[in-house]
Symmetry: C2
Subunit: 440 residues, 2 copies
């Protein structure tokens, strides 16, 4: 079945549409989206055959050209250098199935009030895998688009929340001072934007940095960042650094620190660098020692590496659906999982606390997430259930609702990069899942 | 402690010296070799720090520059694209320790008749890890140079034996005809060296191909091959293919097929390609489904990928010491391990059969391995014990002695690329280990 080959231009258009729609969320005009089934790897036959035909070859240079990312999100390691986040030497922890499973037909109203189902929501939002846990037991688990249970999927900015988790824990342990200026830990940044920013300001993304996370603008800071990370080629003629450690010191200040929220992957990279400097351990080693091995993860995870062996902490982690379920359930249970306290209850409480929603709402582009704040690299809706969320480009979700004892992991490859585009619909689905598990 | 920075030129010199010595093995003049302790990662501090200093950064472009490979052999995945050889979802198979362990002081005479020990042999041959199994039980296990039990180590040409194992098994199953011309399976090779070569000739490396595996000559075919594989940069000004599937059809015939042995990585790449074409599965998937998951491997292994997602079957596999021990013990036990028949006894018998040592000995550079032959990508010494060996550049060894119920896995980073350089010494060590386990 023929379908239009979607260029990055179309994706950019969609992103722009999404951005334009932010001010009037409830009446968002959907851009023309490609059909979910026709863009999945089985239909596109990307990277099939030995060798694949030239027009079916996915490289880092073209992963953002839709639908290539639908294949690449499950195979990023095959395209570039990575470091293993070892699962540890023990047996995987139990992740038992509940006696009653949720049905695909679970019905709820979408954000326009129209009837939809759990199955339809997944298809409409280009889902690769969905896992729902209630009280630590699996009540729903589905894999689409060829994703296998053992296969790590790219997390994009959900990676940030792992950095935030580790930094928060090290603050609790006294190894990092949240109020200290970043240049105290990273003298290389003494003439950069972060010279006089505090660790807490980077954690909350309230630094003033000359940088835009705009996937619709090829000259945006995010593309210089991705080029330095090795995840995207540099624009022809541009003089981009080859690693994070070369790039970050060149990024300059703009405005004041601590006054406004602005979403920036580079803030997280600074924190990832700081984590490694303070501990003397690589990010992959820290995640393995402190999180993955203690969770009893089923599979190794991995993180993308730059050309100098630096690890891409802000967007580079890839992990399996089930291991993210374990992570989520640990945070639901105040840091306890697999028979041990993995992070301190104080760390989890700090993440859930959130920042100031009023200040957050002043930032451009936040209208679709009204009532939220961003704190220590986690999204906080400030609801009665103490919900905590990690989110990533193209529909990566870790939704943790402690009051409903609910954890949802959703990995997706939506053609609109900004996950805010489906935020209202996703909120309806998460609420429906909370109602369903409470009634189960 | 200062020590001379060894350039690739020195390594090349050593390789040349080794090659020159081949005619008079017993009087080989050792080139000036760098001190083993001073070249290990803990001493060189390569890739230490966040970021490492510029002169301590290892990239694929400089991994052959000694001592960089001592770090890179344990971290190849951090330098380029790779595909995972999944260990499977089950528990690792048992690899129990024997009641009596062999001592480091185990004494034997080296190839010059001088006394040495198990510990000294390891140091003298730049060993990263050594595992000895007797009757399937661990009698000796040591890690040096920072290698961890869970860490895959590059196998270089030991990878070839995995290709040979799978091809032999598929021949036994009737899926591949050993006497068929290669172009029957790979029409892309119809105008290449392999057009009228048989599968068996590639298996035994008796094809006539215009190609030299000469690490001392930067213009040698092996460097064009490594550039196409993505493992080494192309020489400036050269027009090298970017993938195996582009490179192999350009390699031309020289001489006659089936008349003489000549060691060639490209023969194996042809077989690796053929395996994937015949089965419709990637090499990593085949190794996972047919070998790693059935062995009950403890860790995932991985294989290097080229720029088009092709897998580098001839030199690109990386695996842990213990999982290679499991592989070796399976072959020792006629294909049986972990409670199941993993490859057929006929396959193992075929590998052990070897080729014609008289024909093998006519080939240049084989004097150091007198009495051997090369058959189905395995080294066969034609001894009374039915010994079978896999070998790789810089001292990778899988030594399987069924009569002594002995398996030895040795992973190394010797500055002299050609493992034949230490062949006589290694033979003394393997014989000493066989005597020791028989007496244990």
């Amino acid at each position: 079945m023929p379908f239009p080959r979607l260029s990055f231009a179309l994706v950019s258009l969609a992103a722009t549409a999404a951005a334009l729609c932010m001010a009037s969320a409830s009446h968002a005009q959907a851009p023309q989206l490609p059909p979910p089934d026709a863009t999945q790897p089985a239909a596109t036959q990307l990277m099939e055959g030995f060798p694949p035909p030239p027009d079916k070859i996915v490289r880092l240079a073209n992963i953002l050209k839709y639908p290539n990312v639908r294949w690449a999100a499950q195979h990023l390691r095959e395209l570039g250098p990575t470091a293993t986040i070892w699962r540890g030497g023990g047996a995987p922890s139990a992740l038992p199935a509940a006696a009653r499973q949720l049905p695909d037909t679970l019905a709820f109203a979408d954000d326009k009030g129209a009837p939809t189902t759990l199955a339809d929501w997944q298809k409409a939002t280009y889902t690769d895998g969905l896992l729902v846990l209630h009280q630590g037991r699996v009540v729903y688990e589905r894999y689409h688009t060829g994703l296998q249970p053992q296969q790590p999927h790219v997390l994009w900015s959900m990676s940030k929340s792992l950095v935030g988790l580790l930094v928060t824990e090290l603050i609790q342990e006294g190894a990092i001072d949240a109020s200290a200026r970043i240049a105290r830990y990273l003298p290389e940044l003494a003439t950069s934007a972060w010279a006089d920013a505090t660790v807490q300001q980077a954690l909350d993304m309230t630094t003033g940095v000359k940088y835009a996370e705009d996937f619709a603008d090829p000259t945006s800071g995010v593309f210089q960042y991705l080029a330095a990370a090795g995840l995207q080629p540099a624009r022809p003629g541009s003089n981009v650094a080859k690693s994070m450690a070369e790039h970050l010191p060149t990024v300059q200040k703009e405005g004041e620190h601590g006054t406004a929220f602005a979403y920036k992957s580079v803030d997280t990279e600074v924190l990832g660098w700081l984590l490694q400097r303070v501990t003397g351990k690589s990010y992959a080693t820290l995640l393995s020692e402190r999180i993955w091995s203690k969770l009893g993860a089923q599979e190794d995870a991995y993180v993308f590496a730059d050309a100098n062996g630096g690890q891409v902490t802000s967007v580079g982690v890839n992990a399996t659906l089930r291991d993210l379920g374990r992570l989520g359930d640990m945070l639901r249970a105040n840091g306890r999982f697999n028979g041990q306290q993995i992070v301190s209850p104080a760390t989890v409480a700090e993440l859930r606390k959130g920042a100031d929603p009023a200040q957050f709402s002043k930032a451009p582009g936040t209208a679709l997430r009204a009532g939220y704040s961003y704190h220590n690299q986690w999204w906080v809706p400030h609801d009665a259930d103490s919900t905590l969320e990690a989110k990533g480009l193209m529909g990566q979700h870790l939704h943790i609702n402690p009051a409903a004892e609910l954890v949802v992991v959703k990995l997706s490859t939506h053609p609109v990069p900004n996950t805010a585009f489906t935020h209202a619909l996703d909120r309806q689905a998460f609420a429906a899942l909370a109602r369903a598990v409470r009634a189960n």
